[in-house]
Symmetry: C2
Subunit: 180 residues, 2 copies
């Protein structure tokens, strides 16, 4: 009996659960705003998902939904006990899934043999520039006074990644134009 647990929640599901937990109560738009200033730098989630996913989670009984009857009729979500428990279990379980680094510039570089050196050099310089810009954004966030500890830790990952990426692409830009 029972045992048909976990209708397989996706990363998006846990993102939503986590965001609701952090805000105690929030709307899809709140989620969107939070994501776009933090974890969304690493892993993008389209806003349509942030509207669709809570509906699913409410059906599963992991969120409660409360809709304004008038005006905007926003839907505000809260964790149910089941939702809090699902989040807790997920957080408590380490993962072995490896990091995915999805980068079109890397994909193009990988096929660099099929390309001309000059476009490749431009590719690398544009990539370096993009990482410089991203680094500046992270530094602006890091300058804000009181940031929650774990948010700061993930931000730190971003800072390091961007610094190393800049170095990397600058070196690539040089190497691809060299003979041999």
């Amino acid at each position: 009996m029972t045992a048909d647990k976990a209708p397989s929640l996706t990363p998006t599901s846990y993102l939503v659960l986590g965001l609701v937990a952090r805000h105690d109560a929030c709307t899809s738009y709140d989620m969107k705003r939070t994501v776009s200033g933090s974890i969304g730098y690493f892993w993008t989630f389209p806003h349509s998902q942030l509207y669709a996913e809570p509906v699913r989670l409410a059906e599963l009984g992991l969120l409660s939904e409360e809709q304004e009857p008038s005006g905007r009729k926003r839907r505000t979500y809260r964790l149910t006990d089941a939702g809090r428990e699902a989040l807790r279990l997920w957080l408590a379980e380490p993962t072995d899934e490896p990091t995915e680094i999805r980068d079109l510039a890397v994909l193009k570089l990988f096929f660099g043999r099929e390309a001309e050196p000059e476009p490749l050099r431009i590719l690398a310089e544009r990539a370096a520039a993009a990482h410089r810009k991203r680094l500046a954004e992270y530094e602006a966030i890091a300058a804000i006074p009181h940031i929650e500890k774990h948010e700061r830790l993930t931000l730190e990952l971003g800072l390091r990644f961007e610094r190393h990426s800049i170095r990397y692409w600058e070196e690539v830009a040089e190497e691809v134009t060299e003979e041999r």
Copy 2:
């Protein structure tokens, strides 16, 4: 007239085009094998896509398809002129799409406020271990004598990323257990 170019090819499409270009002629299984030892470390592509996508590309006239009549009836793909041109254009165009770093461990760390310190520490140590393992795999590949230049460049990115990730997660493991 004309101008209705690009029925929007996905990264998977260009992956396939690039792989076919590199091998001159190849089957879906060849692609799978190549991917799993190189770019697939960064960006995973399920093998079913490597079977489905070439069919689409052949319909679009970017690949030619030749099927063995007997035995395994493997399908071998080659670039058409249109396919070669599509790949060339894509490679020549730099991208501004930012890197996505999708990592469940980071997602969990981000929500660390909702978790207990001890599970978090374990999470960080498991992550560090996973990156150590991945680093070892990369080093084994790097030890192989003659690797094509651009493949080596992307491998170098992987090596650096793993080294920094190990450091990062080791530090996280310490910090999450500290007071404050």
